[in-house]
Amino acid sequence: MSEAVIDLVGDRPTVCIDFKNPKAYLALAPTFALEDVLGLRFDWLPVSVSPLARPAARQPNEDRGAQHRRMRAEYYERDLRRYARVYGIELVDLYRNPDTSIACIGLLFAKRTNDGAVRRYLRLSFERYWNAQLDLADVRAIASVLDVAGISTNGWETFASGIGRDENERIGRTLRESGIFDVPAYVVAGDVYFGRQHLPMIEWQLTGRRGEPPI
């Protein structure tokens, strides 16, 4: 099997995701919807970024910087939960920091084996993880997700322990070196956008920049 190509400046938009990140989870549905609107499939790539910062406990005499960080973290949790409700999602612990490597390798395997099933793999993986029903580092658990998504698991374990592992490390390293420090990250013709709030801009950019630009 040949190495996966990372093309961040080409015509096909890239979406960088991290299974442990709730912002990436909330971006799934609207990103799928944009793919449908545009009639194309984005290149979904796995990357491991820093976990969300758990709000520190309020301290007596905390300085302004500590208070700011605490309040910001508390706000982001409230914000994630209220928008999760828009999608009917109840998020469990936002701050888990598991090893996600096998789920990432599973995404690469899905892309090689049955690109048409990538969406199902992503949806199942995120749903099960965020329902606390999936160990993202368990080869057999990910094999089950691949299977349910309709992806043949022939060669999965060999891939996961060999070329897939190397490829995942290379992709993650390349993305981080390219400035991808948060997810979801959308890369469109070399432009990086962090967050699903940019989907209208991405749509506008990919549809000939017609009409009023998004604000």
Partner: protein, 234 residues
């Protein structure tokens, strides 16, 4: 204090916190005015003077445009550089100029000027906000200079008799006290929208703010201006 102040409550249906040194608040200004027009409401515009070094570190550029002083971490620099790039790409599409800055400005005086303008009239406050943002981000306005701020107030139609005493006296005292209360209430950034006591930080929440102002008709929106439905099939 000349009047009761609640950081999360107002006689207006919507409170909006802005800071003139924030380009994100600048980008949010006109889309937020649109809410006043579309819903026939009067927004309670309030200044929030950000203490940027306390959460993003600080930096100063030298005469050659290079970083002369900095206590920012690499992560903070990544975030700051991305933020400026992000602001500029949106600003350029709307013909808004956001020139780079050489230091973190003290915007408290400009905020006090905004409160002074508010006491005069809503139209004067809006004229003041528009002028300060546009010129400051073109680097044509020293917002730390009282004479400059006073001149903008005059241009916006404000009476400035007593402004000097205000910004050095009761206006400054009120600003300093109110800023602490705003921060302690959990409002930490701009633009921030407060509706029915609930805080929304960032202009990407304007669809949600609109939905709330409009009586929650239809499904609740996600962030940004185009609702991509949640119902997608594999």
């Amino acid at each position: 204090m000349t009047e009761p102040f609640d950081p999360l409550r107002s006689a207006s249906p919507l409170i909006v916190y802005i800071d003139f040194k924030s380009p994100y608040a600048y980008l949010a200004k006109d889309p937020t005015y649109a809410l006043e027009r579309d819903f026939g409401i009067e927004i309670d515009w309030r200044p929030l003077t950000l203490d940027i070094p306390s959460y993003l570190g600080s930096a100063k550029l030298g005469a050659d445009g290079r970083v002369a002083e900095s206590n920012r971490t690499p992560q903070q620099w990544s975030g700051v550089k991305y933020a400026y790039k992000d602001v500029r790409r949106y600003a350029s599409l709307r013909g808004i100029t956001t020139r780079g800055t050489v230091k973190i400005w003290d915007s408290s005086l400009a905020g006090i000027g905004m409160e002074w303008a508010k006491q005069q009239s809503r139209a004067i406050q809006r004229g003041y906000i528009d002028r300060v943002y546009e010129r400051f981000w073109k680097r044509e306005l020293d917002i730390e200079d009282p004479r400059v701020i006073e001149a903008v107030l005059v241009e916006a139609g404000s009476d400035v008799e007593g402004f000097e005493a205000y910004h050095t006296g009761v206006g400054r005292a009120r600003h300093n006290e109110v800023q602490l209360r705003i921060f302690d209430a959990g409002v930490f950034g701009v633009p921030s929208y407060v509706i029915d006591g609930e805080l929304f930080f960032g202009r990407e929440h304007l669809p949600m703010v609109r939905w709330l102002l409009g009586g929650k008709r239809g499904p609740a929106p996600d962030v940004a201006y185009r609702h991509f439905g949640a119902d997608t099939t594999a």
